[in-house]
Symmetry: C2
Subunit: 433 residues, 2 copies
């Protein structure tokens, strides 16, 4: 894994975050102790659960949120010199708790609790939301896809359908949610996500004959490679593929047509040719519903692109970052909330646990307001320390996040596997204050 | 504008692009002359036109597509040492033509024509698609929003709803398509997109009284600032806002409730208080339909977030990058195309012009196969040189892209302003070969 120095994340934010801090410095409130929370008001319509991803990336962002000389120059004219000086020494020094990466979430799950001065905590608002809203949207879609695939491997190949940097984050988030690999090389280099690839139609078209293309690929990548067999005639290509690679051919890829039907024909042909261990990989606008519909087809792996990187209809999570408590004039912590009928927030610092029955099945998302809810004995606390006094303390590996995802989804009620639209599989219960 | 050195874009690609080149080097076809085209097979369902954006970013990507030491180390084990050596000196040396940034597009518009060796041109596939698919999706949505807004300004404020780097590109693309400003500071620093901002509810909640918050903001940012007036009671906040800032208050922002109705009440109240020049900015999950529905309301500016950065229901364009011609064994250029019923491509190099009637109104997107279509006298050629012999020659400013967008949309048939679902406003006509 390469570890090139990461660029400052400090300008990946909204104009008003900085001007608000400047104004708060004017009114003497900038240094008031404050608690912000990042949470969803709801799941996307019809979704039964969500999956948290981006935690590791968010910790990188917090570490890298410094205003270097170039950033300060860019901010001249937006904030005053006094504020620029304050920004030059900015460094988040507070505490952060949050759901572990890979954890399932539900409406009002307090995914992040950020405590610090108002000034230092509000500056992180935009970029933390960007990371969480994107990465969790991808992981939530990916988790449904891996559930729908049963034990069959899913491969992320959507880089070309989304912003080139979002693609890297999407590959990472999909891996957290159970995908086996990605086509994205930067995700491999930065995060160690396994990368894989087959070949494009252009590679076949480049050659004077399909057999030439297959021969070149097998000679270069070995017989374990995956040959793309739908550029011209599928049956002829399958015959050629086994002729060129032998019965040890790793896999063939189908990228068009009625995938279930073609897969059955190709499976029969491969078996007839003695290539019974050659796998069939399918791609072509798959989503969780298409994957589920192929459950009975002889498919060995799914390559998923567009629908994965666009969150399968829900490209963002709608997480918000709200001030829930702040220091009052007398130094006490005061719960605060906007009074709005259509955008509800609940004041006061939150705690959360997943209530589980004696058999270990999740029963409710319990959110305590102002105090931790009591553990009934089978429950699981959800907030873990991520940052303490500005130092990252909660970094998990991607393997740990993958394990967390598996365990978290496994303890949800069985209805979690239903791909149809429905309510959250467990209710959110608020307790206290 | 700061111009920090851009990072290499060479790993922002798919695994198979590299292994295909290695295999083509094996078969002696890597250096064959090749023409790739980037184009849409269709518009998103119901859309009447699309808008090209990302051209300038794509040119940056082509310039920065070099494999540095870190990238080469990351590729060890994926390609062989001979290939690594070839990559170390990789530099695109071919030619690129394309639609100008801001131009309208239709099904099969040849947005980019990339000519070079197979090896050098195929390597750019993934990242060019990423840039175009994302940026054009945002610009296409943004263009409908600015049309729906009539002359009223639109402000991009969706950074928090999308990946943090996608947010910067989205701000840029929205600006191309007629938005007036963005909240995103990195878009300002990198591209000169004007930035702007108001304040969040947290700023009001931080203070012991709403008036304290308003006072701090006005003292810091001047009376021309925009005060957020829906944290508690709107009417009381408007009264306070004018009391604090005077009748010269720049604007108030409404972020909840029935925006049209509340805007009418606030307008009446502001006028009654003598603040008749104070503008009303509305935000809150706006899309082009909500903007159009507010046409009769006394709204002075629209702040658009989620629906802008997610392409208003269509977060990606479905552009593909296909080999359409390549050198044959005898050195001649051979048209090629995949034979598939559900994913049609047309072989042969494309040219394009917008057919216009004598009054200047667009009548058709004419795509010539193998030769440029004939100009009837009122037509407009669409492909401009972007890269010649590997050197960028077609860089336009964002102001030029904005002007191109305005002119391009202005010459489309009037039905372009309809927000309802419909067919492309002009047909695509293929001519030749």
């Amino acid at each position: 894994m390469t570890s090139s120095p990461r660029a400052s994340s400090a300008l990946l934010t909204d104009h008003y975050e900085l001007t608000m801090v400047q104004a708060a410095r004017q009114s003497g409130t900038a240094e008031r102790r404050a608690v912000f929370e990042l949470f969803p008001r709801r799941l996307p319509p019809g979704r039964r659960y969500g999956v948290v991803a981006g935690v590791g990336r968010a910790l990188d962002v917090i570490e890298d949120f410094r205003f270097d000389a170039a950033a300060l120059t860019a901010l001249e004219g937006i904030v005053d010199p006094d504020m620029l000086e304050w920004l030059a020494s900015y460094r988040f020094s507070g505490d952060v708790w949050g759901y572990a990466e890979g954890e399932a979430y539900f409406p009002y799950s307090p995914l992040l609790v950020v405590e610090g001065t108002f000034a230092e905590a509000v500056l992180l608002e935009t970029v933390l939301l960007s990371v969480y809203n994107h990465d969790s949207a991808i992981a939530s879609a990916a988790s449904r896809m891996t559930l729908a695939a049963g034990g069959r491997p899913c491969i992320e190949m959507g880089s070309r359908r989304t912003h080139e940097e979002a693609a890297v984050a999407a590959a990472r988030a999909a891996y957290v949610a159970g995908f086996d690999a990605s086509s994205n090389l930067a995700a491999r280099a930065r995060y160690g996500v396994p990368s894989t690839g087959t070949a494009a139609h252009s590679f076949t078209l480049l050659h004077d004959a399909e057999a030439d293309a297959f021969r070149a690929q097998v000679q270069t990548l070995g017989v374990g490679t995956t040959l793309l067999v739908d550029t011209y005639d599928v049956a002829e290509a399958v015959r050629l593929a086994v002729e060129v690679a032998g019965t040890g051919l790793g896999a063939v890829r189908l990228d068009s047509g009625d995938l279930g039907e073609v897969a059955r024909e190709v499976r029969a042909q491969l078996d007839g040719l003695g290539a019974s261990a050659t796998r069939i990989v399918v791609t072509s606008d798959l989503d969780e519903h298409a994957i589920a519909a192929l459950a009975a087809a002889p498919v060995d792996a799914y390559g998923v692109g567009t629908q994965l990187v666009t969150g399968s209809g829900h490209p963002t999570c709608g997480f918000v970052y709200k001030l829930v408590a702040r220091e009052g004039a007398a130094g006490e912590l005061v719960s605060v909330a906007k009074k709005s009928t259509d955008k509800q927030s609940i004041g006061g610092r939150k705690y959360a646990l997943r209530r589980r029955g004696p058999s270990g099945v999740a029963e409710a998302e319990v959110v305590g307001i102002g105090a931790p809810p009591e553990d009934d004995g089978d429950d699981r606390a959800l907030l873990v320390p991520l940052v303490r006094d500005g130092e990252v303390v909660g970094r998990a590996t991607l393997d740990e996040a993958r394990a967390r995802h598996r365990a978290s989804v496994a303890e949800l009620p069985r209805s979690v596997t239903m791909m149809s639209a429905g309510e959250p599989v467990i209710p959110t219960v608020h307790l206290g204050p």
